[in-house]
Every structure is written in C-alpha cells, then in structure tokens.
C-alpha cells in the first residue's frame, strides 16, 4: 500500500477557515482531556497529534505545519503538570514532517493516511521520550507492545477523524 508519488503541481493544497483552524485544535484538546474521565481507555489516543498531522498534510506548508504543531503541543503541555515544551517539541517536528510529506506524497487515501499516522505517532513518541528523559529528567520506560498498540489505535482513529475533517476543508 505504497503512497503514490505526485509532482508538486499535482497535489491539491487545502485551506481552512479561521473558526475551523482555531476550533478544531481546541476541540481536540477538550476531548483529549475530557473523554478519559468517562472512558479511561481513551487516554491511549492523542487527538491533538492527529489534528496536527491532518492540518500539516492538508496545508502542505512547512511553516504553517511547524507553527500549528508548536502551538497545539504547547497548549497540550499547559494542561499537564509537566514542564512546558515536551509535547511542544514533539509536535513541532511532527507538524513539519507531516507538511513535508504532504508536499511530496498524496496522502488523501485511507491507506496512506493509516501508514502516515502510524509512523508519525511513533516518531512523536520517540521524540517525546528522548526529550523527557534527556532534558526533563523524567523516568519513562519504553514499552514496544504498548507503543505499537497505541500507534495502531491512533492510526485507525485518525482515518475516521480525517474523513470527518475533510468536510471542513476548502480547496484553494
């Protein structure tokens, strides 16, 4: 299920209205913090990450991708008790990477999205762990089984979420 390579002229670039660009990340943060209260298993999902990937890939602009990732990550950090910047750094890199990928590959089909989300989730976790252990001196243990399961779950949710968010985007 390889993602087809497309030229820069062939890819479609999308833009989002201001309410969507602001409201969707805030809604993702809201759901991320609220849903695990009623459904504890939902803590395995990282909806702000999925939104970061979606906006990055859809806009296909590296600058907006890294800024989107940075802002969403910093806001997510603000809700935790940990130092601000752990999610910020990880999501900045993912936002940049997603927009870079969007420039080169057509990731509008579900298979490509599944693979891309799976990969970006693992990349996000690796960066988070590296920064948390290396800079913030936190004691975290990498568990491959858990991370792989979480990556699959996030990829599956991502496909559904992206399908819904597709209705909110506008072609340029």
């Amino acid at each position: 299920m390889a993602a087809p390579y497309v030229s820069r002229e062939q890819v479609e670039v999308y833009r989002f209205s201001v309410p969507v660009a602001v409201g969707v990340p805030l809604a993702a943060l809201l759901l991320q913090s609220f849903l695990p209260l009623r459904l504890p298993f939902m803590a395995i999902f990282d909806m702000p990450l999925l939104v970061t990937i979606y906006f990055g890939v859809g806009r296909r602009n590296q600058l907006s991708g890294l800024l989107t990732g940075s802002i969403i990550g910093l806001l997510q950090d603000s809700l935790t008790h940990q130092p601000i910047g752990l999610y910020g750094i990880a999501k900045t890199v993912v936002g940049y990477g997603a927009s870079s990928l969007g420039v080169k590959l057509d990731v509008d089909n579900h298979g490509s999205r599944l693979l891309a989300t799976f990969g970006f989730y693992l990349l996000h976790q690796i960066i988070y762990f590296a920064v948390a252990r290396g800079l913030a001196e936190q004691v975290l243990y990498w568990r491959w089984g858990h991370q792989a399961l979480a990556a699959v779950a996030n990829a599956a949710l991502g496909v559904v979420l992206y399908f819904m968010l597709d209705r909110l985007r506008q072609k340029t």
Binding site: L26, P40, L66, L67, S70, P83, G85, V93
Partner: protein, 410 residues
Amino acid sequence: MENIISRHRNLTLLALVLFGQILGLAVQVRKGADGGSTRLIRVWAVSAITPFEKAVVYTSRWFSGTWRNYVYLRSVRVQNEKLRDELERMRLEHVRMVQDAGQARRLQTLLAFKEQFISQTMAAQVISTTGSEYSRGVYIDKGSKDGIKADMPVITPDGVVGKVIRVYPSSSLVLQINDPSSGAGVILEKSRLQGILKGSASGETFLANIMADETIEPGERLLTSGGDRVYPKGLAAGTVVRVNPAGTFLNVEVKPAAQLNRLEEVLVITKIVEKAPEVNEQNTPLRAVDILAQRLPSVPPKPEGQSSSAIPAPVHMDPPAKKPAAAAASAGSTTSATGASKPGAEPKPKPAPPPETGGQTTVEPKREKPPTSANSGQMRGAAPSEKNPARAKSAAEQAKPENPAKDTPR
C-alpha cells in the same frame, strides 16, 4: 550564508522554534517545573478549556440526576432496605470503635501525642483529566476563588486521591497518587511498616523503601502515616496486591483505595488541625441510670444555709465512686454519691447534654474502688428503682440515716 538560510528557510525556522522550546524547557527544569509560579500560557489554556468542560459536566450531571432522581427509581426500595440493614450494622460497629478510640486517645494523651484532625473539607466536581498518559492528574471545578491552595490533600470516601498541585482562579489541578512524581507517606495497617506510596509511568502504584527481609502479606491495607505533612494520618491509601523481592527492597504492588479511573466528586481538605487528643474524664459512657437522672424531674437546689437534713435521703445503690459528669451534674441538686450530698456543697455545673448518636459511649468512668460484682451488675443498664422496686424501697428505708449527709454504701 544568507543563501543557505534563505534556501532552507523553513528548516531554519524549525531549528529556531525547536531551539527556543528547548531553551525554555531547560530553564523550567533548572528552576524546578514552574519555579513556584504558574505560567501565563497555562492560565490561558486552562481558562480556554475549563468553561466548556464545566458546561459539559454540569449538563450531563443535571440530566443524569434528573433521570435517576425522578424517573429511574426501580431499585430504590430494595436499596433502601439494604442501606437500613447496613446502617444498623454500622451503628453497632460504631459503638465498639468509639470505645476503642477512647482508649487510644487516653494512651495518646499519656504520650503527649499530637494528632491531626480534618476540620474542614470542600466538595469539588472532577471536570477533566490532563489528557496525557504521562501526567496522571485531574482538574476540579474549585480554584483560588474558592479558597483552594496548593498542596491541599484530595480524598474520596474510599481513600486518598492526591494533592492539589496547581491552582487557577476557578479550577485546580490535582496530582493523583499514581503519578510518577507523586509520593505519600504510608503505613501498613497490621505490620506497621512505613514506606512511600509512589506511582509509576504506567499508572500503577507501588510501595517503595521496604526492605527485602520484611514480611508483607497481600491484602494488607495501607493508611497514610501523616509523615509527609500533606495527608492527615489514618486515611485509606490502598491495598497490597502483590509482593515480589527485588534486590535490597521489596517490590510491593498496591491497588489504590480510591477509584482513580472513575473520579466524579472529591473532597479537598482545606483545613487540618493538629492538637493533642482531648480525653474528658467526665465524658464517660452514659449509662441508662445517668440518662434517666437527667431526664427525670429533680428537686431544685437547696438554698444556702438550709439544713441538709431537710433533703430527703438519697437512694444509693452504687458503691462510693466518682459518678460521670452528667450524672453528677444532674444529681448535684438532688443526689450524689460524692460531693453533692455533702451539706452545703455547691451543685456542679451541668455539662453539655450527651450526644444523641444512638448509644454512643466514650471512656469508662473512673472509679475509686472497684465495684462489687453484684452492684456493678445491677447498676448497669437501668435505675435501681426501675429494675427492682422492692429492693430499692428497702434500700431507701435502710438509707434513711440519722444524718443524711453521710453516704452509706451497701
């Protein structure tokens, strides 16, 4: 150089943004998280999110409350019966525990032991989580406007939840005891071993600092020890699930007493009072005879200077012993085994009425002489005149002395 930067403009910006965040992170780590203050971005983020969460929580609570309180009442009657049974059982247990507590207080007083009492709590609604697997915490709907401060312990009726770690104007972040950065001083209920209850990255709790040569049984309960100066002593913290030796220390897995995954309402302990336990020697177990003595009509106190012989002779079935305060006070105007029956003795001030807690008792009365078995058996439970009227009458006749001021114990 300019060419390289302009050619790789986006990459340069990425490096700059990352550098800025790493620098900020390093400053925070060096200062210790927030350096004691709450950063503005946190206030913004929490202020933007919590109103929506509060709205959702309050709305869902209103609907569920309406449904449960007015519509779905199917099992209420059965549940009510069960609760009544449980209440009866708890009352009996309560009486026994009050006696034990009284004894413990007496011993603590002897040791000049200071105890922490929860004197004030505030109920709060849990409105959200931190949304991160690596930060185990919940937000509550009470903040600095409501008097919440950092480091206040948070509990549920089941046990300890955690402590307030960050306070915002209308909400607060509570760090749960299963977070890796949390810690609570605990003591094992039976073995009295002390340790630190800590959380792990995967959200489990374990007991740290227990040497491998100690013996701990699974199922043993953990209570807060009060040594951490955050949680008051004696709160349920958890139960030992598994014990595995791991080198010098034991690896003790603990199941938290509070259901940390299903928190809805919590109590924030806003005030803890530390004082030595008060043992009121007068606050002795109220016997039926004492209660009757209080409730029955009594003769008004005699005026000073009046001859004590004018007072009818008291009926005494007790050996000479110190009576409980309530009885002594009530008997101060009529009869007393000690001072009140002496001529010209001042009646003792009447203490506060006994708490009506369903036969609640405290410590045993202090007796000067041990009572005879016959007397003690007779005097427990009911007034002598009620229990054995004939005997009481004869006792009254015998007790009519020439000088009524003198007590003549039988």
